[in-house]
């Protein structure tokens, strides 16, 4: 089961052709930061280079943090690793079973009840009926939603939505875990409760790729950091080293979030 778990990325570039420039998804993902990254492809379409010539290899046991300003390409890289964006340039090779926690609302339909959302999530994974019941049990216990489980998610408080999403997302045991920073959001009380569950999942994963703004998490969980800037690798190395370069001062002085991070909860960022 282990041993062969591995990620190879070589010369990966991801281009977004600007087909319908007004579209929501593009605004969300690239336009905000793309000013210097517009280009034209051979067919004279305007494209945005979300990722440029990324190469790295991860083997079992490695825990990689992706840092960089908003829109540096962190989520796009996670999506490429997850096989959602199939790149036109470069190779991506992933060995081992993989789970991507990219969107807190993955598979969550706001108009369905919590229980129905749990069922759907199980079905995404092709669970059998008996496994579905256990999933429901597990999630209900952790999320602590009580009677709200039978009400539409639409009327949940945002905290309840995060709890449900978190409980669903952590009910997995992948060999490779891709995690976006939304995952580390939530109120302090919840984070405390969530920590154990999440750490268990992270520990069991053989490879972790985490996109985050929080230096403490990076130092605590990760063995390697890649600093992405404008879709390119700016630095790649040990956490302390890269973090200090990124922050521009020794780590000890950092109290909380990274300089540009500020917001701990960005929701489903592109």
């Amino acid at each position: 089961m282990s041993g062969c778990t591995r990620i190879d990325v070589a010369g990966l570039s991801v281009l977004f052709p600007l087909y319908h420039a007004g579209s929501r998804s593009l605004k969300k993902t690239v336009v905000a930061v793309a000013s210097s990254r517009f280009a034209q492809d051979p067919q004279h379409r305007v494209v945005v280079q979300a990722l440029r010539d990324i190469s790295f290899t991860l083997t079992a046991g490695e825990r990689l943090a992706l840092i960089g300003p908003n829109g540096a390409g962190k989520t796009t890289l996670l999506r490429a690793l997850a096989g959602i964006y199939e790149p036109v340039v470069g190779r991506v090779r992933v060995q081992g079973n993989l789970s991507a926690l990219l969107d807190p609302q993955l598979g969550m339909n706001m108009d369905l009840t919590g229980r129905e959302n749990i069922m759907l999530r199980g079905l995404y994974g092709g669970l059998l009926r008996s496994e579905l019941n256990r999933l429901e049990e597990d999630v209900r216990e952790f999320a602590g939603l009580g009677d709200f489980l039978d009400l539409p998610v639409r009327i949940y408080s945002s905290g309840m939505v995060v709890r449900l999403g978190f409980a669903l997302a952590t009910a997995i045991r992948p060999q490779i875990l891709l995690m976006d920073e939304w995952f580390l959001a939530g109120d302090a009380e919840f984070l405390e409760k969530a920590r154990g569950r999440m750490e268990g999942m992270v520990r069991r994963a053989e490879i972790l790729v985490l996109s985050t703004h929080q230096p403490e998490i990076v130092r605590e969980w990760c063995s390697r950091v890649i600093w992405l800037d404008q879709g390119q690798v700016r630095a790649d190395g040990a956490p302390v080293e890269v973090l200090e370069q990124y922050l521009g001062h020794p780590l000890e002085e950092v109290g909380g979030q990274l300089a540009d991070g500020g917001k701990s909860h960005r929701g489903a960022t592109g």
């Binding site: 096989g83 993989l98 598979g107 092709g126």
Partner: protein, 311 residues
Amino acid sequence: MMLGRVKTNAVAAVRGIGRPATGSAAFMSDRLSPSIGNIALEFRPGLTATERARFAVQDVAGGLRLWRLAWTLGWLDIRLRYRGSLLGPFWLTLSTAIMVSSLGVLYATLMHMDVHRYLPFIALSQVLWGFISGVVGDGCVCFTQAEGIIRSVRMPLFVQVLRVLVRNLLMLGHNAVVIVVVFALFSVRPGWQALWALPGVAAWALAAAAICLPLGAVCARFRDVPQIVGSVMQIAFFLTPIIWLPDQLGPHEHLLLLNPFFDLLEIVREPLLGTAAGSHIWMAAVAITLVLCGFSCALFARVRGRVAFWL
């Protein structure tokens, strides 16, 4: 035009490497991340057409394996639409019933026809056409509507197509009540002949899947296409014998064969009315289905990897 503009010199190679050797007491199986679970993922530049075709086939096969998910999604779509209403999905039945009875009486008078002949005909035609236009309309948005899922997890795109099929089949089922009631009221008994509708429905399912895949992809890329399709379907409604009978065309009836909607409609409608669809109609319907499937496979193989970028 479409094909020329899509750049696909690199496509994913997705290979299964067998079941995971979990064996642990972990109940949360690795299958929770289905589309990726236990497989190696490989993207590399320069795949051949055959390889691309294989990945398209894998997508369809993977979608079929997730049929329970597709069923639930389609079923929830319907439930959601009518959640909180008294009649639920039977609003479909009721509104179809009202439309069919008012249209039936009005047009029978306008066209000087016997209500006993016309009303069962229009009830059946209207319900069947509702399925056809529903599939085409939903097919246009099958990927754009599922944007959230497609962009957050790797999952066979074909699941979304199955979801559209399930949703429309369930609606057809609810509307079919109207046909049964009308047939009972006017004592129309198609007899054993009606069984011929079954292969017709099978051909429909195939054709529906084959039309949704390319429509969904093209509509994701070119956002004007759903509008175009909408007006084409509007015209098709009037050009196809739905509110009028084929034999009203008189000597020109054979020209109807050129209307693909007519051929497909007849292979299900005729048996249910107790007559057999002619062999030339069957041949035309089968040919249309096969051409659709071929076109669908060819286009899907080329654009499958790009759909996520278009959403």
